[in-house]
């Protein structure tokens, strides 16, 4: 585990990634355990159909008794994207700015390693870590859905989870970019988190506020869930938008990180 910056990055995070997996597991099991009672509860369904718009902005749907509706409202509309994005931002902001802030970057870059290579290995660590937690999300959701007898398309579940991963990777790349450009971890976390939150709020409000509808396409979150991948699968153009965002952020980080004076 000490043979490369990539593997060392995973090794450094092994404990925290294990706790993330445990946390996700417990959260998913707890929510899925409520599904059987929710499914047969007519009054909740009736309430949701007449629900205020504000509630829809948090669940993305009024249908919370079907398997897809339930998973969307409990996990895929809000909680999973937020959790996975938080993980990606925390790793991305720390990747270079963390080393620089703690003063270890001088030592690391004394080794024969180009800045570009270092940055890409750091991002690979981020991608692998986030993918690992996405896999946990998929496996635990699929298995617990089976256990409570949900009728679910597991391929679509995989597609929705993959879309989730792409969204988190884009925000992770933005955090990496800001850290690489400024050397300040706090600034990278702050700005990325603010933009991320803005993107979620815009995407959610645009569902219920007529005037915001045209602006929804400005939110990266729209390209994650706008097509409802749990029901409809991935949409190629949306996947491309998320990949392109990541590519732009990564390209920008490379350009800015190569050019900059590192602080001691």
């Amino acid at each position: 585990m000490l043979s490369s910056v990539f593997l060392k990055g995973l090794r450094d995070r092994r404990v925290s990634l294990a706790w993330w997996a445990v946390g996700l597991l417990l959260f998913i099991l707890m929510q899925i355990a409520f599904y059987p009672s929710m499914k047969d509860n007519k009054s909740i369904q009736e309430y949701m159909e007449s629900a205020p718009d504000a509630l829809v902005a948090f669940t993305g749907t009024t249908d919370i008794s079907s398997p897809v509706g339930y998973l969307n409202s409990q996990f895929y509309f809000l909680m999973f994207p937020i959790l996975l994005t938080i993980l990606a931002i925390s790793i991305g902001s720390d990747a270079l700015a963390g080393e620089e802030g703690r003063g270890t970057l001088d030592l690391l870059l004394s080794a024969p390693l180009t800045r570009g290579r270092l940055l890409l290995e750091k991002y690979a660590t981020l991608a692998a870590a986030v993918a690992l937690e996405a896999l946990v999300i998929y496996a635990v959701t699929a298995l617990s859905a089976l256990a409570v007898g949900m009728d679910l398309d597991f391929l679509k579940l995989a597609e929705a989870t993959f879309s989730l991963l792409l969204l988190a990777l884009a925000f992770g790349a933005l955090a990496l970019l800001l850290g690489a450009a400024t050397g300040s971890r706090g600034l990278a976390v702050g700005i990325t988190a603010a933009l991320g939150l803005g993107a979620y709020v815009l995407n959610s409000l645009a569902l219920v506020v007529e005037g915001l509808k045209p602006w929804r396409r400005l939110s990266p979150v729209y390209y994650y869930g706008g097509n409802d991948p749990l029901a409809n699968g991935l949409k190629g153009s949306h996947v491309l938008v998320l990949l392109a965002l990541t590519a732009v952020f990564l390209g920008g980080s490379l350009a800015l990180f190569r050019r900059r004076d590192l602080s001691a």
Binding site: L2, G103, L109, S110, A111, A264
Partner: protein, 301 residues
């Protein structure tokens, strides 16, 4: 044989408006131990970070092994060992894990040599780095710089935090590097250390190279502040006129003075009296600079 391993040409770095280093022209010859001497904040670390492409010059260039420090940085760093000034290590790792990681990044490191270095420096490799002393961290940094037996060692304040016994062992290691024909560039703010360790010295003050001298000639100019304690008050002109002795003033039985270069004539002059004690102070580097390197400064003050 004496081709240059490091050459800087007008190397200049400004931070915003403040000065880092200005118009630095240095040449470090192959196989020598070159001391880079200056007070804290003079620009030593800035220069080293320019050589390693961690920061970029405002103007001027640096060449290592004839390679451009910026364009060919990867090859340069492959052939260098670097001990950073404000050394920061991965606190959660053990020393052995950290060294293994850097050995893997470099490739071709013999682990038995790492163990030999650890033994010579009495390093602590198994405990998590956060739990070990500053001196032990410095040893890990040193082993990291030395372990791949590089052609060029760039060491920023290498003995900071080392206890005197380990310092001696470090001097021996540097001496053997020199014997093997490696080049060593070592920064320090400690004059005696540089005299002990180096062949040549570049003296940097406020970002400018103020002198480039052989260590032997530095010793000739060395300044020492002395306190001579006499058994009874000496005649007022006891030491007046002794060559190399300046700043004389007497305080009852104690005479304070500053000696430049050899102490021989002073000792001989003192031999006529009963001397109880002689206390010698190395002047701080700042004092040396203020007296001898500022324009207009002279020793006849």
């Amino acid at each position: 044989m004496s081709s240059a391993v490091i050459v800087t040409e007008g190397l200049t770095k400004y931070y915003g408006k403040s000065r880092g280093v200005v118009d630095l022209d240095i040449e470090v010859r192959e196989g020598e131990v070159f001391g880079f001497l200056g007070p804290n904040g003079a620009g030593k670390t800035t220069t080293i970070r320019l050589l390693l492409d961690l920061i970029r010059p405002t103007r001027g260039r640096a060449y290592l092994f004839g390679l451009d420090s910026r364009r060919d940085s990867l090859q340069v760093r492959r052939r260098c060992g670097h001990l950073p000034g404000e050394l920061a290590l991965y606190e959660k790792m053990s020393g052995a894990d950290l060294l293994r990681f850097f050995a893997n990044l470099r490739g071709g490191v013999s682990w038995s040599y790492v163990e030999e270095l650890a033994e010579r420096l009495d390093g602590e490799l198994s405990a998590p780095i956060r739990s070990i002393s500053r001196g032990n961290k410095q040893k890990i940094g040193l082993i990291q710089a030395l372990m791949h037996q590089p052609e060029l060692l760039i060491l920023d304040e290498p003995t900071a935090g080392l206890d005197p016994l380990v310092q001696q062992e470090f001097y021996r290691i540097i001496a053997s590097c020199r014997a093997e024909g490696r080049t060593v560039f070592v920064s320090s703010h400690n004059l005696p250390e540089v005299e002990r360790l180096c062949d040549r010295v570049g003296i940097i003050c406020e970002g400018r190279l103020v002198d480039l001298v052989e260590v032997a000639s530095l010793k000739k100019r060395a300044l020492r502040r002395l306190e001579v304690h006499f058994a009874s008050p000496p005649p007022p002109d006891a030491l007046r006129g002794v060559p190399g002795v300046v700043d004389l003033h007497a305080d009852e039985v104690v005479v304070h003075c500053t000696v430049r270069g050899s102490m021989d004539l002073l000792i001989k002059a003192l031999a006529r009296f009963e001397v109880v004690n002689i206390v010698s102070h190395e002047p701080s580097l700042e004092e040396v600079f203020l007296r001898y390197y500022e324009r207009g400064g002279s020793d006849a003050e």
